[in-house]
Structures are given as structure tokens and as C-alpha cells.
Amino acid sequence: MRGKVVTDSLGKPRQLGKRLARGGEGEIFALQGRADVIVKWYYPEVLAKRGETLHRKVEAMRALRDTPITRDVCWPLIRVFDHERRWIGFAMYRARGVKMGFLAHALLYERHFPGLDRRQVVGYLLRFVEIVQQLHQAGICIGDYNLNNVFCVPGSDQVSLIDCDSYQLRVDGTFYPCPVGSPDMTPKEHQGKAFRDIVRTPRSEAFSLAIVLFKCLMLGRHPYDIVGGDDPVRNLRRGNFAYGRGQRSVPQGDWYALWQALPEALREHFAVTFTGGADDPGRRTTLAQWHEALSTYREALDRGESPRDITPGRAAGFGGRRVR
């Protein structure tokens, strides 16, 4: 059994609470007496293999802890050691809210976001784009885009990001890569390479971010889910986007109706980014352009010029069927 007591850099012992999550690299624990703080404890085998590299990167991140970027991101704030004073991870603020993966899901969003409408979805996406823009301005890339690492607070437009120790950053001339990712969210030019060897750019980020936006506005559909086709990654490599102009190989059901309910400007951005932009990073919609298009959409929703229902024009919604 692993000890449940950690110490801070002054050697003061702190009792850990419940284990909250198990990830690929470590575990997340509650901290007793501080409901707003959690501790990431890397697995012993991870520490044995690349503990020094991790420690250096987390220290470099900690150096930025007083900058505005850490406001909406669960940033490493405090060093954490085991009972023998070996570095084992860090403490950070706990994100509030619900995973964006539940927002972007036709069968789950209602349970987690009661009364959700398009105004709110677009509100979360605007916040998300703004947070990523702020990171980019500081030279930081997210790299590993994953809807389960974005938390949204139901009933507000608050968004925060977790799992940020994987971010790509450059501090004092040292480059720290983002060593993880998933092919389904990665642009073509970075496919088939080891993630730790990739240098993410604003253009590569814009592609992954567009997939996040698409999945949220399309209730969980991946832009490269295609009827009778290959897996999403093969379609992505070919720029084989089903929606675009006209309806080609769009999955059965109401997905095309959802697509048509989006404003033309947004559809155009998606179509360009996922077809020509798959091959040519320069053609991808930039974060500033996404922000503008989403803001325009939000204003139309605010003024009542665009329907706010998640599934417009269909009384029953998605088959009227919900999970129990």
C-alpha cells in the first residue's frame, strides 16, 4: 500500500483523502481539510523512469503560477513529497463542473446539463477558445486535446482545464514537449509520429480545437465519422469530411439536421478546416476567427434570431430516447 501522507516543501505532513481518479501517469487524491485542492501523485514506475524530466517540467510550470494563464487552468502550484522527502507530484486547485464529454453527447447532456440550450453551449465554447488563446499568447500549447479534460459548470459559462502537466511550453529557452495525444484529435502533419517528438503550433492546435468545437455543437459526433467508410483517423488523413457542401456519407439519423441548424459562417469554417485544412495548415480557421464566428452566433441566439433548442425543429429530440 502507498502511504497516504505527503509533505510540502517545508516538510509539513499533509493527510491525503480519497483517491479521485487514476490516469495513465498517476493518481489524483483529495487533500484533507482543503476541499478545493487536489494532489497528483505520479506512479512509482513513472517516477523511476522519467521522474527527473517530470519534476523539471512541473517546476518550469510552477514558475508561471502567478501569471493570469493559471486562472482557468488547474496549474501545478505546490510541490509534493513522500515521507522520505522524494518528489512525487504536485498540488493544484480542483476543477469545478462537469466534463465537456458529457456536454458533447446526444444521450447524456440532459442529465448533466439540465435545460441546456445552444446559447449556453456557445458560451462554454467561447470561454474555451479564450482560455486557449491566452495560453497561446504565453507560448503554451495544449497538444493533447480531450473533451474529458475540459470542465464546464452547469448553469454558468465557467470553464476550466485540467491535466495540464502535459502541455507544451518553452520557459527560459528550454522546450518541454507534450508527450501524449490521441490520433483522433491530431492533425495530419503530426500523425504517425511519437508525440514527444512533435512541435505543436497554433495551426496544429487550431485543427484539434475545431474538432472539440464540432463535437460540442454536434452532440458528440466526430467530424470524421463517416457511413460505410474507414475509421476516423484514416478519414482525417484524407480530409474526408462528410458534411461540407451537400450531404455525403453523413451518419444516419438527425446529424445532418443538426449540421444544417448551424449558422452558415460556422459551417463554412468547419468545411474548410476539415477538407482543405486537413492537408494545408494555413487554410485552417484560426482561433481569432472561431471566436468571431462564435460571438456572432451567440449574439444571434441572444437576440432570438436563431433557435436556441439543442435539437431544432424536432419536438421529440433524439428519438425521445434517454438513458435511464
Binding site: D225, G229, D231, G253, R321
Partner: protein, 222 residues
């Protein structure tokens, strides 16, 4: 008869989650009579409950169950975990037609992945779990080669598990990885591991890469 809530027509249309098909091929021959079959039943029930507790996994995992006990029975056709209301209890009797059971399992897996592609539903590598306490009593070598080939091509994750006096060599022939022996009757520990693995797979944003699985030391023996 079983009372499954089958919503299979609309499910591939309305549910956008990438799928992880998980087929269980279970030896329910006479030698499993008594405590082994009771523990196996309990393990399967806990497996379903554990998957259903994880909403993402419940939308993603499609479970199928085929038993080999005297005859081959499809106990549960592929059903998304959130739509399974109950799974019947298995009884132990007869010989072990594992070859025929595996043939049916692989045919069903093939048909299911074809349906995914047809519907434009992304999917993770399907899982095929085979649990036996003996040796197949029918012709099995040909289907073992078919199953092994799929495992080698990384098209299917094949997990052979031997119980008590099982022939691990025969079971291992179904996969590219050696069969593991269940310690005692730790079916529940095995199925908890399986549900944790399914949770990890369905939480992954990646449908094409292999996911690092939890350690098996809670249930396997050396």
C-alpha cells in the same frame, strides 16, 4: 426467457460514442457445476453493474455472451451496456463445444463491426474473452487459428483465461498472448479488472491506439 431491452435499431444512430464490442465466450460445461458456475454468474452480473456505473463506458461498451455447455447458446446478442436490463443466469451441463462457440463469437463480432462501419460509428478494437476450465471437446484448431490471426493483426483483443485444471496451451492457441490462469475462483476479481479495462478504453479519445490496461495481479496466478 431473457428480457433484454433491445433498442438495436436506433442505438447505432442516436448514440455518438465510439463502441467497444466485448464478447464473452463462457465454458458452462458440467465440470463447472456448483461453486464455479455460481461465481461465474456473480462475476458477470457484477461486470454489467460496474460498466453501467460508468456512464461513458455504458454508452460505449457493447456486451455479447455465448455459452458452451452441452450446446452453444447465444445468451446475449451484442447490446450497449446501458440498454441491458438483465442477463440470465447460466447453468452448468454437458460437454464443452468451445470450437463452435468461438466460431459463432467471431461471426457475431465480424457482423457487428460491419454494422458499425455501415452506420458511421467509430469503434475501438473489439475484445473477445474466452473462459474455460477444461479442453474443447469439439473441433477447435481451425477457429483458434482464425482468432489468433485477428489478435496478431491487432484487429481483436483476445483474452483467454483458464480456470482450475484448464488446458492453458489449447486456450492460448486462440490468442497472440498466452492464456492466464485464474487464481482459485476469482471470477469477480477478473470481471472487475475487465470492467476497469473497458472504462479505460472508453475514456480514451483514441480509437486506433492501444490503451494501457490495469495490472492483472488481482486475479491471475503464475
Amino acid at each position: 426467457m431473457a428480457t433484454y431491452r433491445l433498442d438495436r435499431d436506433s442505438d447505432l444512430i442516436d448514440n455518438p460514442s465510439p463502441r467497444c464490442a466485448c464478447m464473452l465466450v463462457l465454458d458452462t460445461s458440467a465440470s463447472m457445476f456448483g461453486e464455479p458456475i455460481r461465481e461465474l454468474n456473480a462475476g458477470v452480473q457484477e461486470f454489467i453493474a460496474a460498466i453501467q456505473e460508468d456512464e461513458m463506458a455504458a454508452c460505449s461498451v457493447e456486451l455479447g455472451v455465448i455459452t458452451a455447455g452441452g450446446q452453444v447458446t447465444e445468451q446475449l446478442p451484442f447490446t450497449t451496456a446501458m440498454n441491458i436490463s438483465q442477463c440470465r443466469q447460466f447453468t452448468a451441463s454437458g460437454l464443452t463445444p468451445l470450437g463452435a462457440a468461438m466460431t459463432l463469437a467471431m461471426d457475431r463480432l465480424e457482423a457487428r463491426t460491419a454494422a458499425y462501419r455501415q452506420a458511421g460509428v467509430a469503434y475501438y478494437q473489439p475484445w473477445l474473452v474466452v473462459i474455460s476450465d477444461g479442453v474443447p471437446t469439439d473441433e477447435w484448431e481451425r477457429v483458434a487459428a482464425r482468432s489468433r490471426a485477428l489478435a496478431q493483426q491487432r484487429k481483436t483483443v483476445v483474452i483467454p483465461v483458464g480456470v482450475e485444471e484448464a488446458d492453458l496451451e489449447a486456450l492460448g492457441a486462440f490468442s497472440s498472448r498466452p492464456a492466464k490462469r485464474l487464481e482459485g475462483l476469482k471470477f469477480r476479481e477478473f470481471f472487475l479488472w475487465l470492467s476497469a479495462s473497458m472504462s479505460r478504453v472508453s475514456a480514451s479519445a483514441s480509437t486506433t491506439e492501444q490503451v494501457k490496461l490495469p495490472p492483472t495481479d488481482s486475479w491471475d496466478s503464475i
